[in-house]
Symmetry: C2
Subunit: 410 residues, 2 copies
């Protein structure tokens, strides 16, 4: 199927947001992929509505990536690729939720891989974890936030108190919702994803039509106010669980108690919780959509189809391991409550080029507790200042420094 | 290496908490594993300090599971097993953080798999995700809570306001801390895990000795009070990140801003966040220790060594997909503010056998807003009651029902 050395040839079906992102990402990562797999991946053909010939691309490829979406012609192409002995990677949830059993049977029959991590929750690796890490686990329940658009809308309604229709408009303006958002807000998109997860978790056929489904269109600002007052989350939740010898698969809005691992998942993120007696529970979260993110999930599948499993490749670089880095700090001091103590301490910090962000001082009889947070500084320089401060006669106990991790994504 | 049908023979080295849990879990899951892989796994020999012969077990095994811990004789056994052409699954973080390059080189040379998911963060599938999903990602940073004992202690200090020494004693009593907890609380255990993660993420050799390390022994109730006042988390954080063309790998206590995905990880749980430009960030969390949990991670590795990658096996059962399930509900009603309205509504609920958990009523001029939460009930029965309530003349708008997910693990 694949040649044992040289290029690894990829046929790309579809060139929308994800397809274009993949075509951009692949050359950037090709050298690293060659290091890991021994093969250099390259896109040998792209099929769009207006250009490319499927048969020609198929003949030239070792693996086909299907990013067309919808049922036909995607289904026909995927089947023809597998029948031709090619591995297939797809992000097509609708196809798998409606024709999964047929496609998986053909993959087994033809001895090819059919991978679909990007079909559910984007870059969140829930498919791989269910198929591999938990291949023999007795899964009891899956809860998922698997539609980023509806989660973004509910998060914004909770944050601003605005009405559904207004937040939807804002989401469309920001690109978090499509011009026609129906499938996202009525739960149908999430239902397809939950059908796939239920199939894998419970090892039983599950079709999209069997998923009970309710959307977020009727949620009002009142409901989110109630949730806030009681410290609950209100989310569009997908559930797949065992009940009385059968299973239930459904998507609907739900209040979550505050400590539920999905209650704090905000904005366009996706997250999935898998429960099983032996593992207790695993939660995974990350971006559920986006071109580069979904393309990364597709690329992870492509690489897995290229490599023998679980080799830890030789290291490719020898990076210096640096001990002295930049960090913000909290500094806790017990001091004598005398005039000038604060100025002596900030003086030492200033001499070391350290800038103070905030100070809290609490009197305790003759003593005071002084807590400072300083802006990011090279650690060695900060610790030199702390060593100096420790020698001040006003210090009652050794100062205590703890690093502060500030928001890095914004 | 492995026979193409029949049993898959596992040699088990070590029979402590995890080994015993694996010996119990494997027979329970053997039928499902046989369904997935076509091979029935069985433990053919167990080596402990007092019984078993390594050479004999090795000769009888297709795969060796190493759960002895420490460097020797674990290192010697793992090398001899790989040299004999056997796959190895290990949970030994010390061994990999100190001798990983040697062992991975031997695995490549001998063409066998060396898998180690259970060595870092227990059942949280971070090793698999780094090695497979993110094999070609340019990882920028990893943050991890990878020691459950220290996280449990900090969570309890935050919750109760108690001092470190008292909480440690309580953790020992509850079995969350060992009699000698040094490696857990001084950061050394976490350092070994971060060395392994850094090696995989950055594709460069990282030895345990290169990890900068500070423990939680000096954290005081004051520090946690400060964290609570400012809405911060205070955690023992492992960091591996790129800095100026090199990398930094370290473990130390740190304050986290409230929305950091690790800030809400409490108790003995572990969690890891992986950041990269293309994927933004993925967070994974779950139990970091525990016999059955760690044994599940080991078993996931064993199964992966048995199967060809990414086959979606034929379904083994046809479970009924049930539409009508039990759920708690929130019920939102706008009603005329007249005497008796509450009693009429609760009357309908009572007739349907539905029990009310809480009621909030707010006056709005002539109208009132009534929010009820009811105890779990079969959905069809609840919706029948709602249909009846909708016909009451006091209702101003159709009632709105939203499901409530209550705490399931406690």
């Amino acid at each position: 199927m694949t040649s044992s050395a040289g290029p690894f040839r990829i046929g790309l079906l579809g060139h929308g947001t994800v397809g274009a992102a993949l075509a951009e990402l692949l050359p950037q990562r090709a050298a690293q992929i060659e290091h890991v797999t021994g093969l250099r991946p390259e896109i040998v053909g792209v099929l769009t509505r207006s250009r490319g010939d499927f048969e020609q691309i198929l003949a030239a490829s070792d693996l086909v990536v299907e990013l067309i979406g919808g049922i036909e012609p995607a289904r026909d192409y995927v089947i023809r690729a597998m029948r031709a002995g090619k591995h297939v990677v797809t992000a097509n949830k609708q196809l798998l939720a409606q024709h999964g059993e047929e496609l998986w049977a053909i993959a087994r029959e033809c001895g090819v891989q059919l991978r679909f991590e990007a079909a559910v929750a984007g870059v969140v690796p829930v498919i791989r974890v269910l198929q591999e890490s938990l291949a023999a686990a007795h899964v009891e329940r899956i809860h998922g936030i698997v539609n980023g658009t509806s989660n973004f809308i509910l998060s914004e309604m909770a944050r601003t108190g605005a009405a559904y229709a207004d937040v939807l408009k804002e989401a469309q303006r920001l690109g978090y919702a499509e011009a026609d958002p129906s499938e996202d807000v009525n739960g149908k998109d999430a239902a397809a994803k939950m059908a796939i997860l239920a199939r894998l978790a419970f090892d039983t056929p599950v079709h999209l039509d069997q998923v009970v489904c309710e959307g977020i269109e009727r949620i009002g600002p009142d409901d989110l106010e109630y949730a806030r007052d009681l410290g609950l989350g209100l989310k569009l939740i997908g559930t797949a669980e065992r009940v009385d010898g059968g299973i239930s698969v459904r998507v609907h809005p739900a209040f979550l108690y505050a400590r539920h691992p999905l209650a704090s998942i905000d904005g366009p993120f996706n997250a999935v919780t898998v429960e099983s007696e032996a593992i207790t529970e695993i939660t995974m979260s990350g971006p559920g959509a986006g071109g580069p993110q979904t393309a990364s999930a597709v690329l992870g599948d492509v690489i897995s189809a290229m490599i023998p499993p679980a080799s830890t490749p030789e290291t490719s670089v020898r990076l210096e391991v640096v001990a002295d880095v930049v960090s913000a700090f909290y500094l806790h001091m017990e001091v004598a409550d005398t005039p000038g103590v604060l100025s002596r301490i900030t003086g030492v910090l200033g001499e070391h080029g350290i800038s103070v962000k905030s100070v809290v001082q609490k009197g305790l009889g003759d003593n005071a507790r002084l807590v400072m947070v300083v802006h990011p500084v090279l650690e060695s320089r900060f610790f030199a200042a702390v060593e100096r401060i420790a020698t001040l006669t006003e210090l009652r106990t050794p100062p205590r420094a703890i690093r502060v991790i500030e928001e890095e994504f914004s």
